[in-house]
């Protein structure tokens, strides 16, 4: 009557649902990113209160993970998506546990702060914050690549895990030297190795997210470790 043009956008509800899922995934990823930052910062300063906040935040990360999962299941039941839509939802569902585990690793790093009680750090942290920085950048880029379905970018991000692994080896050897030289440092050295290991695992999890992105875009699942690094074979 007023002459306005109205078009019917079919599957609007499904599209809104998919957009919402991806938006919430990004939110979850940014919570996890902050957790990595704060966890390592708390360790650098041995800040107990900050560490406790990180541990509490992990609870909220878990809650958000399950909420997103519920939303995804709801979307499947109500909208019966198939083909690309269904694959997107399944991809989101497979990335959720990776992010949640990363959150758990951050809580683990924070717990190391509490273990120190009133003892000082064994040595100023150099490689550990470097690893954390790399992981955070990888995580942000991996999520970006997933949302934009960019397989090339995801592949590039996945390869950066090599650097994280290399740093872990370095930290491990350094701390091993500490332990061999002075057995009284074994406690704290072990805790630091544990932290570095958590960060290395975070890198692996992000790499999994990248593999998932590549699979979604190309239909081919290839693990980066085997194909892309022939020198390890």
């Amino acid at each position: 009557m007023t002459g306005e043009q109205r078009t019917i956008h079919s599957r609007a509800a499904l599209d809104e649902g998919l957009v919402s899922l991806q938006r919430q995934l990004r939110t979850l990823a940014s919570h996890v990113d902050v957790a990595i930052e704060r966890g390592v910062l708390a360790l650098e300063r041995l800040d107990r209160r900050a560490a406790q906040r990180v541990i509490a935040e992990d609870g909220r990360i878990n809650e958000l993970r399950f909420k997103i999962e519920d939303d995804a299941i709801h979307l499947i039941a109500m909208q019966q998506p198939i083909a690309g839509d269904l694959r997107l939802i399944v991809a989101v569902l497979s990335i959720l546990p990776e992010l949640e585990r990363i959150g758990d690793y951050c809580a683990g790093i924070a717990k190391v702060v509490l273990l120190h009680e009133d003892r000082p750090l064994l040595k100023p942290l150099v490689d550990v914050p470097r690893m954390a920085q790399l992981c955070r950048e990888m995580l942000r880029d991996a999520i970006d690549a997933f949302i934009s379905r960019d397989a090339e970018r995801a592949r590039a991000v996945g390869l950066r895990d090599d650097e994280v692994d290399r740093l872990y080896d370095q930290v491990y050897r350094e701390l091993l030297t500490f332990m061999l030289n002075d057995p009284r440092t074994i406690d704290r050295a072990t805790w630091l190795i544990w932290v570095a290991h958590n960060l290395e695992r975070i890198g692996d999890r992000v790499q999994n997210i990248c593999e998932r992105t590549v699979y979604e875009a190309t239909g081919v699942m290839r693990e980066f470790t085997r194909e892309e690094r022939p020198e390890h074979e």
Partner: protein
């Protein structure tokens, strides 16, 4: 984490499956209006092949070309080849009447004859000169259509007195009575309620062990539930249907090759 198996066990490699129909360049016209253009694909034996597409894309025309039912429509013309048992059914030597005995058809609206249940099933064999035991044939067909238990005490009642789902199963039994090797089904469930629909779908899956089935459906979920292979037809503005994609159902519905296929099956079409 490996990718899921790209094809189902039942359809290991479509190219290796034995074929019941080979369509090559099939085009069809109703008078001056072209309904199908250059349809080329193979329909395998003992599988369920679904034909999907938006309304007006030529699915019904295509399926009716397979048993030359379109010949009954004045002004219809077909070009190209459809090979069935090594013979071109549009060739000069082909006899449509004989062809239709070997290719059964079930229609969208159940159309039992206004005769008794028994006579409905017996008509086909009688007309084709069957001289054996008619009761055996009727019982056998009704059993295969999973209708025997419901009608065995009322074989003399009119076919029209049955419920919609039962009528459709009666039509299936009627088609099976002449022992075809192919069953063509043109939207067989669209006039039925959901429960009747599920029963017929189960029947189709079961029948596929012994018959080659081609089913036209506008219900995406049905195609994905029931079929082994799917052909997607699309008509442009000239309303001429073309084959966009044909492949194992499992692939077509999870990772279609053509973006038009994806747009249609996810409901984002036009």
């Amino acid at each position: 984490m490996r990718a899921p198996e790209p094809v189902a066990e039942r359809v290991s490699d479509p190219a290796k499956l034995e074929r019941v129909f080979e369509l090559r360049g099939l085009s069809a016209w109703y008078g001056a209006a072209q309904a199908l253009r250059n349809i080329t694909f193979d329909i395998p034996k003992n599988r369920v092949t679904a034909i999907i597409g938006p309304s007006g894309c030529g699915k019904s025309t295509l399926i009716r070309c397979l048993d030359r039912m379109n010949d009954l429509i004045p002004g219809f013309r077909a070009e190209g080849h459809v090979t069935y048992h090594d013979e071109d059914i549009y060739g000069p030597a082909a006899d449509p009447v004989l062809l239709r005995r070997h290719i059964g058809m079930v229609f969208q609206k159940p159309n039992p004859f206004p005769k008794s249940v028994f006579d409905n099933v017996a008509f086909g064999p009688r007309i084709n000169g069957y001289t054996g035991n008619m009761h055996e044939v009727v019982e056998g067909s009704l059993r295969r259509a999973v209708l025997w238990d419901e009608v065995k005490d009322k074989l003399g009642t009119s076919g029209l007195a049955l419920s919609g789902g039962q009528q459709q199963r009666l039509c299936i039994a009627r088609a099976l009575a002449v022992e075809p090797d192919v069953l063509l089904m043109d939207e067989p469930c669209s006039a039925l309620d959901p429960i009747a629909t599920y029963r017929i779908e189960e029947l189709i899956t079961d029948l596929a062990r012994d018959y080659s089935i081609v089913i036209v459906t506008h219900n995406m979920q049905q195609a994905s539930r029931v079929s082994d292979l799917t052909a997607f037809l699309l008509a442009g503005e000239e309303r001429t249907g073309e084959l966009v994609e044909f492949g194992p159902t499992r692939d077509l519905f999870t990772r279609p090759a053509d973006e038009r296929t994806e747009a249609y099956i996810t409901g984002r079409f036009g």
